[in-house]
């Protein structure tokens, strides 16, 4: 690539941060000391371009070190990887957690998304902004969902320093956050989240949550966060590694057969049969194959995958290994969202443990199968959870979804056949191998086998992560969570997340299965059940959802880029009682926008960006001006 680099030079700190990711430069051409040899030889080309996938990690290293990506830092990364700066800028500016403008070294991200909105998020945001004052306005920013909805309000601290990174704070309050603005020592709440079924002995029937905490020990009280120790022995003593051993015993084809027999459907939202997907990848002639675990859990109101990764990380590693074994992959990736520092650290530890014990690497468990896993971390982009956008993110490009076909099973990561599953789906595979596909198929209903995790948040008595066998109704779930807090009346439930649908109090007997959802025109999505009682300003919630999609649209395709903006504008006009023409004309326009986005967007974001909004209008949750 013939580069035209900006003249700015990196600081020593920035150089060191980038070199930690890319290794020291091998020549003057890459930014090292210019030697006599550099006058006669340079290497680059494909070898250099093939390191493009290190762009995002390198940019993250700069962000972590300096608090923003300076021209000098960016230029250095571009020189190292032979990427035009404009191209790298396009990547850096895509992500919310990366900044190409000066930013303070400490930034508080306070969640004001749907679940925290009814849990004091906006109020906390206001208080922190007031505490920072106008001079330090950049220190406090609103954030989309941080995946800590069971302990609202949530916040995340982004620290830039030699050992910079992210800290999760939930439940957050002014006292906990003040030290990050004012200086001084700080302490944070511990724990991964609320799991009421584990706390009060309702463990029967739990399959996915049963392994929670089985391999981690709290080692020491550390104000800077929980310090965990991972123990592979503990994990193995409590059933760990058995599925991998079983898989190796069966061989790839029979593993796939078991998964197909189990009728396991993907839990990421699309409900695609996992066994069919795996079989399609395994059957591709092109090599290598990749397997990716999608842990970019960003759907507002969702926190299940985070809890699984934080509390049962070795199981995730084992499940990815089994999937890689079955699909003929030699390399696996876990793409964890950037807002999940604890999950990231624990997965990295788990991978290192597994590698040390021969469960990863060359010749896994003496089977001849070689496999390793790499953790990749997102940087604040909801759309990166879309599977093809996720591939682009790993490859170092803007996380914009690709047109399909070709589907990932044929051309996925790095253009090669790729299997990709969500964390919860993969964990189910361990259960399939433990009890066998047939027995698994007997759990739940005909069309929805096994159990399902639901993230209860909002106005319920006991928010938290719940596991139920398929077939339970929405009412069952709300009851499991102790009903609506304070005994108040229920106004609506947001089911499936921002991309899901609102359900009114009259429809609580809907069964939460894939087949019922399909027939009834709702979605289970990522298992979000966010309840709103009769005190909640639902218009505010709907506007927040509209704002979310407008903000997260990648802008690649017109229906979504324009539609999400127009949708939000129309809702604001309706809300303000200033409809263009009549209220009917505005609602008709919203219907047209919704149809346009649903039918013509490239990916699921645009296709579902009007789903919750339209269901809210239908249920009368959004006052349409007539009353105003």
């Amino acid at each position: 690539m013939d580069l035209r680099l900006i003249a700015a030079e990196p600081t020593e700190d920035e150089r060191e941060a980038v070199d930690a990711v890319l290794g020291a430069p091998e020549s003057g051409w890459e930014g090292g000391e210019r030697t006599r040899l550099d006058g006669h030889v340079a290497r680059g080309g494909r070898a250099q371009r093939e390191r493009r996938h290190l762009l995002l990690p390198a940019l993250q290293a700069l962000q972590r070190r300096a608090g923003w990506i300076t021209d000098g830092g960016m230029g250095y990364v571009c020189r190292r990887l032979s990427i035009p700066p404009a191209d790298a800028y396009g990547v850096a500016s895509f992500y919310a957690l990366l900044s190409t403008e000066p930013r303070p070294r400490i930034v508080l991200h306070v969640c004001d998304d749907v679940a925290c909105r009814v849990g004091g998020g906006p109020e906390l945001l206001d208080r922190m902004r007031a505490a920072a004052g106008p001079d330090r306005a950049g220190h406090v920013v609103p954030s989309p969902c941080l995946g800590l909805c069971d302990r609202a309000p949530a916040a995340m601290v982004q620290l830039a320093s030699k050992r910079g990174g992210h800290l999760q704070v939930a439940p957050a309050d002014e006292g906990l956050l003040r030290p990050f603005i004012d200086g001084g020592s700080w302490a944070l709440p511990h724990g991964s989240g609320r799991l009421p079924q584990l706390d009060d002995g309702r463990r029967d029937g739990l399959r996915l949550l049963r392994g929670i905490g089985r391999s981690t020990e709290q080692e020491a009280e550390d104000p800077q966060g929980p310090r965990e120790r991972l123990s592979l022995e503990r994990y193995r003593a409590r059933g760990g590694s058995a599925a991998l051993e079983r898989a190796i015993e069966l061989g790839p084809e029979r593993v796939i057969a078991e998964v197909k027999t189990s009728k396991l459907l993907g839990r990421g939202g699309a409900a695609f049969p996992t066994g069919v997907k795996w079989e399609a990848v395994a059957g591709q002639a092109a090599r290598p194959h990749y397997f990716v675990c999608n842990a970019d859990e960003s759907e507002p109101g969702t926190f299940k995958d985070r809890v699984l990764m934080e509390e049962d990380p070795l199981a995730i590693v084992e499940a990815i290994t089994v999937a890689g074994f079955a699909t003929g992959a030699q390399r696996g990736y876990v793409y964890v969202r950037g807002e999940y520092p604890v999950a990231t650290r624990r997965l990295e530890n788990a991978i290192a443990e597994a590698r040390g014990a021969g469960l990863l690497g060359e010749d896994v468990l003496g089977s001849g199968f070689s496999f390793d896993i790499e953790v990749r971390v997102g940087a604040g982009a909801y759309i990166a959870g879309e599977e093809t956008a996720l591939f682009n993110s790993i490859e170092g490009y803007r996380p914009e979804p690709r047109n399909k076909p070709p589907f990932p099973v044929e051309r996925g990561l790095f253009g090669k056949p790729t299997g990709i599953n969500n964390v919860e789906t993969l964990l189910n595979v361990l259960e399939v191998l433990r009890i066998g596909g047939e027995e698994f198929a007997g759990i739940g209903t005909e069309g929805s086998t096994g159990t399902r995790l639901f993230c209860l948040s909002g106005c319920v008595e006991e928010p938290g992560l719940y596991e139920v066998e398929f077939g339970a109704t929405l009412r069952d779930l709300l009851e499991l969570a102790g009903g609506i807090r304070g005994g108040r009346g229920l106004r609506a439930v947001l089911l499936g997340g921002a991309a899901g649908t609102f359900v009114g109090p009259d429809d609580l007997d809907i069964r939460l299965t894939f087949e019922d959802a399909r027939a009834g025109g709702y979605t289970l999505g990522s298992g979000v059940v966010c309840a709103f009682d009769d005190t909640i300003d639902m218009a505010d919630i709907v506007l927040r959802i509209a704002a979310f999609f407008r903000d997260e649209s990648c802008g690649q395709c017109v229906p979504c880029r324009v539609g999400t903006v127009r949708q939000e504008e129309a809702l604001h006009r309706l809300h303000a009682g200033r409809a263009f023409g009549s209220v009917d004309q505005e609602t008709a326009l919203l219907g047209d926008i919704a149809a346009g986005m649903r039918d013509a967007s490239i990916c699921g974001l645009g296709q579902t960006a009007a789903s919750a909004v339209m269901s809210a209008l239908k249920l009368g949750l959004f006052p349409t001006g007539a009353a105003r």
């Binding site: 210019r34 006058g39 006669h40 030889v41 340079a42 080309g45």
Partner: protein, 544 residues
């Protein structure tokens, strides 16, 4: 190549090969259309190796760049050849089937050990070794070169040294393997094809040795064709100097600026009894002329054909009327003939072309109708059923010796360093070249603005700039044994200490060719624009 001067491969093959070598070529800037084919090849997995003294824009795309010392190409090629032979990577079957002279060649290159090659070229031995192995072992290798090979006093030997590599490894005459000089204009190839070479009739038929061809032309033209090669440009200037050449008819060339050692060139042109210039523009050469004939722009104001680097003949069509008294080149030449007493009747582009087809077997099958219907044809195309030839010299691979035709000879090429020696007085090697947005002397490009264009500079390495104590933009004096010019300094990290670069695009600002040497290659007539010994002085310290 082996008689017919043209690249052996098609652009399509550049896109489908495993290795592309650009040797003495900055195609990214100077052959941007061709480079698109290279990029496509790269995109589909081809490796790129660039040999060039400078780390150019092309080199920045390369998997491996070899920053060769100026003028040491034969040393590099012969060192590679030895390495290929001692590693047993030569293509024995092809050598025995399709070539002659291998034994002598082998004996010659055996002196070129990696160590010796490294000393002469500046490239580390292990890198030469890697290049040799990569080239020999690739299934499909395309070796491409440009003026970095040919603008030397030993241009023909440079080319032959590269051809030797192709013969040695069997990387010629196969799909995806070939030897390709890149042409700098849309019709440089066509010019040669039409006989604008001192020793060839149209269709590369030898004027001295091919009696049958000469007979055909004499019959068609009704005039004798002397069996004697003409002069190439450098010989013409020597002829002027001796007073043997006293009149010149210059069509579309600007030698007053483009010739090496311009002082001499202008003096000689100015001293002619009669100079006629036929051009689009009032060039520096035209300013010296007795008669200037305003011509038309090919492809815009006139009809005809052009032939590109893959030997594809394409139709070009008139889109507008020429301004004022400007006339079609064909009309001017026919009218000239008429005034000299030969009336050719009405000559059109197509009638001239059809005459060519009747005389040049390789063009015979290319009727205007077929050229239009097929989007051009690649020569040779001997009859109207023939689909054209994608790549040349497949015949050398034939099992039947009768079908192989004349075999391809290896040629022993002695290494000779550049004529203009580096000394304490002239310690810097100046090499010249071209930039993306300008064309040769700037006649055709300088009139249009370009967002990229920057004025002439003397490009030097950061180390030399520091040693000279000059900053970017500072005007310095550049002197060679022939003259001196002033130019602003531009620091370029693509250069190493002791290597400097200038273009010839801006003769109005800096007369670069006052510096260059007119040492020329006796075989091809090309001057050594690529290797001049200069010194660079700060103006304040420069000796008067």
């Amino acid at each position: 190549m082996f008689g017919a001067g043209g690249g052996t491969s098609s652009y399509e093959e550049i896109e489908r090969c495993d290795l592309i070598v650009l040797w003495g070529s900055n195609a990214r800037e100077t052959h941007p259309i061709f480079f698109h084919h290279v990029l496509r090849g790269i995109h589909d997995g081809a490796r790129l190796i660039v040999v060039d003294p400078r780390r150019t824009a092309s080199a920045q795309w390369a998997d491996l760049w070899l920053g060769i010392d100026v003028g040491s190409d034969i040393a590099l090629a012969d060192t590679m050849a030895r390495e290929i032979i001692v590693s047993g990577l030569q293509h024995d079957a092809f050598i025995s089937r399709g070539t002659t002279g291998f034994d002598e060649y082998r004996d010659h290159v055996m002196d070129w050990t990696l160590e010796r090659g490294s000393q002469v070229t500046g490239i580390p031995p292990e890198v030469i070794r890697e290049f040799a192995h990569t080239y020999a072992e690739a299934d499909r290798s395309e070796l491409c070169w440009t003026l970095g090979i040919t603008e030397h006093h030993n241009a023909a030997d440079n080319v032959l040294a590269l051809i030797n590599l192709g013969l040695l490894t069997g990387h010629v005459g196969r799909y995806g393997s070939g030897l390709n000089p890149l042409r700098g204009q849309n019709n440089v190839q066509g010019g040669g094809d039409m006989g604008a070479i001192p020793n060839k009739l149209p269709g590369f038929q030898d004027v001295e040795t091919d009696q049958a061809a000469r007979d055909r032309f004499e019959r068609a033209w009704g005039a004798p064709v002397p069996p004697k090669s003409g002069w190439h440009l450098s010989q013409m200037f020597d002829g002027m100097e001796r007073g043997e050449l006293t009149a010149a008819y210059v069509i579309g060339e600007n030698p007053a600026v483009s010739e090496a050692d311009q002082h001499r060139a202008r003096k000689l042109l100015g001293g002619l009894d009669c100079l006629v210039v036929q051009d689009l523009f009032m060039t520096r050469t035209a300013e010296l002329a007795d008669v200037v004939l305003p011509a038309t722009v090919a492809g815009v104001e006139s009809e005809g054909t052009v032939t590109n680097s893959e030997r594809r003949v394409q139709r070009i069509r008139r889109a507008m009327d020429p301004p004022g008294d400007a006339r079609d080149d064909l009309w001017i030449i026919a009218e000239m003939a008429k005034r000299l007493g030969r009336d050719w009747g009405e000559v059109t582009a197509e009638s001239a072309w059809n005459e060519l087809r009747s005389l040049s077997p390789m063009h015979c099958g290319m009727s205007y109708g077929r050229l239009e219907a097929l989007g051009g044809l690649q020569w040779p195309c001997p009859d109207e059923e023939h689909p054209g030839t994608r790549f040349l010299h497949a015949r050398l691979w034939e099992e039947d010796p009768a079908k192989r035709g004349r075999l391809a000879p290896f040629t022993v090429t002695p290494f000779e360093p550049p004529v203009d020696e580096l000394t304490e007085e002239f310690p810097v090697r100046l090499t010249t070249g071209r930039r993306l947005d300008s064309y040769n002397t700037g006649e055709q490009t300088g009139r249009y603005s370009s967002p990229l264009r920057r004025p002439e500079t003397i490009d030097v390495s950061p180390e030399d700039a520091t040693a000279l104590g000059v900053a970017d933009g500072e005007v310095v004096k550049v002197s060679s044994r022939r003259g001196s010019v002033q130019a602003p300094v531009r620091v370029d990290t693509g250069l190493r200490p002791g290597l400097a670069f200038m273009t010839l695009h801006f003769p109005e600002q800096v007369e670069t060719n006052f510096l260059t040497i007119d040492a020329w290659d006796p075989k091809s007539g090309t001057a050594e624009f690529k290797a001049t010994a200069v010194r660079i002085d700060r103006l304040s310290e420069a000796p008067a």
